[in-house]
């Protein structure tokens, strides 16, 4: 891998250069909280570890218009309203969120391909940013993610007053080529030492060495029928916070909005925590909060790995740990359910 560096003070020039050509999103602070926002001159990179919302919005927005139906008298016309084909770059995606795209790909790019998602993926360049200070809610290591060496089209590391860059894909190469005159070539020694430092910190963190492998010690039905679900789900409020801040939750609903002059067909995120999730003509298949709660965790920890060669549907970003109104989360669930080899 070829490494390039740039003084942190030169980031503005780099951002400005990229933003001239296409929309560039960076994590920035708004009202004291980190959000991804389209870059404008003067905007600074957030110092927070990660954004409140995940980065899945870039490829799988909370609501998106699929098509419109216009009505004039008795004449109906269907209109294509697609607008997902503009190039964009996202800078500063952390290791957990960068991995989440690979998980979403498995869902949306599997046959039948979701073309809305696919177009966005093709037109988006991900420049990930290594974590310097992971937090106590981080457990990405459980899923083989190295916070110090995140995936993406290109990766950036911040070490002291220098930014280091390296490309991982063709898109990443193109990104670096576009700003090449701002960068100077260097070797990877500094980056290697940062990776070691981050790995050391992960060891110190309370959840740094969490493992979910214990979930694989037993089969689907045993997990499904586990008596502990009742206790675990008892305090769940049934809100959608965990699903909406989650970078890998991928369920959606397709609805119509009656505008009075036609119909807007749109897709929006759905949450398995909601009472009308997968509502069908006959009613609902999961009528209690226990069933809905179980669905979320079974999906991430059992169904998804069963269908995807053992890969869990979680990236350990810790948002659900930080945001759940009643502080129940996937780590607590896993700890309650896992079958330890010494049991």
């Amino acid at each position: 891998m070829t490494y390039y560096k740039l003084p942190v003070s030169g980031l503005d020039a780099l951002f400005a250069r990229v933003a001239e050509q296409q929309t560039l999103y960076i994590p920035t602070d708004k009202d004291g909280h980190a959000v991804f926002a389209a870059y404008e001159a003067g905007m600074t990179l957030s110092k927070k570890l990660n954004t409140d919302r995940s980065a899945k919005d870039f490829f799988f927005p909370q609501t998106e218009n699929l098509y419109d139906i216009k009505m004039k008298g008795k004449q109906l016309t269907v209109e294509d309203t697609r607008e997902e084909c503009a190039d964009f770059t996202v800078f500063g995606v952390k290791g957990c969120d960068a991995r989440s795209f690979a998980i979403l790909d498995k869902v949306f790019l599997a046959d039948p391909v979701d073309t809305y998602y696919k177009n966005r993926r093709e037109h988006g360049t991900i420049v990930s940013l290594a974590c310097n200070r992971p937090e106590e809610t981080c457990f990405c290591r459980a899923f083989g993610i190295d916070a110090g060496d995140p995936e993406g089209d290109a990766t950036a590391w911040r070490i002291g007053d220098e930014m280091y860059f390296a490309a991982r894909t063709e898109k990443g190469e193109a990104f670096l080529a576009f700003v090449k005159d701002l960068l100077t070539e260097t070797d990877g020694t500094m980056v290697e030492s940062l990776k070691k430092a981050v790995a050391y910190i992960m060891d110190q963190l309370p959840l740094g060495n969490t493992s979910f492998e214990g979930m694989k010690q037993t089969d689907l039905m045993t997990h499904f029928q586990n008596e502990k679900w009742a206790g675990l789900s008892e305090s769940c409020l049934g809100c959608g916070t965990c699903t909406f801040v989650c970078p890998t939750c991928q369920c959606y609903d397709i609805r119509e909005f009656d505008t009075g002059k036609g119909v807007k067909k749109f897709r929006c995120w759905d949450s398995c925590m909601y009472s009308d999730f997968t509502l069908m003509a006959h009613g609902n298949s999961r009528n209690s909060q226990l069933e809905r709660f179980r669905q979320r965790f079974m999906h991430k920890l059992v169904y998804f790995p069963n269908n995807n060669g053992g890969e869990f549907g979680c990236v350990g970003c810790g948002r659900c740990l930080a945001k759940c109104p009643i502080q129940t989360n996937i780590v607590k669930v896993e700890k309650a359910l896992e079958v330890r080899s010494d049991d």
């Binding site: 909370q62 106590e136 409020l237 959608g240 801040v245 109104p325």
Partner: protein, 326 residues
């Protein structure tokens, strides 16, 4: 206090007064505490916790819990007790199935405020009474005064009084206290409409429609919410545009007007930090000013202003006269 609570809970379990206990369960860290129901003395010893991070209002759980078999013991903070009393007034909880122990609360802690001090990778938080001693994996060792990281709702606390209880953990009962909870509403009212519009657009545009505010609210106990009802015409799973954001929050605040006890849970749980309590407080302030002081949940008898009227009530045009031109 926690030890006394556990001891008393065990006594009540042992003598058969109650068959389970509503409380808070330990988490992975000092601060991630989950409301939970305990059935045995062993469970209480192992997992029961009540510290300054146990902020969740447990009254709403009692709507369901009080309909289960046997009596449940609930520890209610002053604000929880207002919520409970309001639920009693609405016949949503079965009072006879709940044994209430009132516990004092001197303000709960907002964990995010500790983090906002740039502390990350927190290893340990030690409670030293008036302050916390926080240690992080990055070697920070910081003393944080509790008052500075108190939840906003607790800084504006309206009452330390427990309004409904079977016994009190600590005598005497607290009092309704002087507070400044309407100051922020008044500040917004003093702004121009354009400023207010910009303020609320900025706040409400962050809404992700997760419904946490609604689901945690002890006043929102409808079996089926209008926003979940496919036949209502307003049901929606996502805040698709600015209108939807406004509509959801206006209507939600309106539906709890006169019933909201101002417990502040909505703002506490909002993952997007929208100051939702300012909507509810606006209604409370208006009702106080126009129809006389009223505190939801304070007593079982007074008629709530929204189900009451006077022949000489002000006309809606009073709104035009208050500040600015028609």
């Amino acid at each position: 206090m926690q030890d006394r609570m556990i001891a008393r809970a065990k006594e009540l379990l042992a003598d058969g007064t109650v068959n389970r206990v509503m409380g808070w369960q330990k988490g992975e860290f000092t601060y991630d505490i989950t409301p939970a129901v305990f059935h045995t003395a062993e469970e209480l010893d192992r997992d029961f916790v009540c510290n300054d991070f146990a902020a969740a209002n447990v009254s709403k759980y009692l709507v369901k819990e009080s309909r289960k078999e046997g009596r449940i013991l609930a520890f209610l903070k002053p604000c929880d007790s207002y919520s409970f009393a309001q639920l009693m007034k609405e016949h949503r909880v079965l009072r006879e199935n709940v044994y209430i122990i009132g516990i004092p609360s001197w303000g709960k802690t907002d964990f995010e405020k500790i983090k906002a001090r740039g502390l990350s990778g927190i290893k340990n938080i030690k409670d030293n009474g008036a302050d916390y001693f926080v240690e992080t994996v990055y070697g920070d060792e910081v003393t944080v005064p509790k008052y500075e990281v108190m939840l906003d709702r607790c800084k504006d606390c309206k009452s330390k009084k427990i309004v409904v209880y079977d016994e009190l953990l600590e005598e005497p009962n607290g009092d309704v206290i002087e507070n400044h909870r309407f100051d922020e509403v008044a500040r917004l009212e003093a702004m121009t409409p354009d400023e207010r519009f910009a303020f609320w657009r900025n706040e409400l545009s962050r809404c992700i429609r997760c419904n946490a505010c609604r689901n945690v609210c002890p006043a929102c106990t409808c079996e089926k919410c209008v926003f979940d009802n496919r036949d209502s015409g307003v049901e929606n799973k996502a805040a698709a545009d600015s209108f939807e954001e406004n509509m959801f929050h206006i209507i939600r605040a309106f539906h709890v007007a006169g019933r909201c006890t101002d417990c502040g849970e909505c703002s506490r749980v909002c993952p997007q930090h929208i100051p939702l309590h300012l909507l509810n407080r606006k209604f409370i302030k208006d009702m106080n000013e126009l129809y006389g002081d009223y505190q939801a949940g304070a007593d079982p008898d007074t008629r709530p202003p929204m189900t009451d009227f006077r022949f000489d009530d002000c006309e809606p045009s009073v709104v035009y006269e208050r500040g600015g031109a028609k």
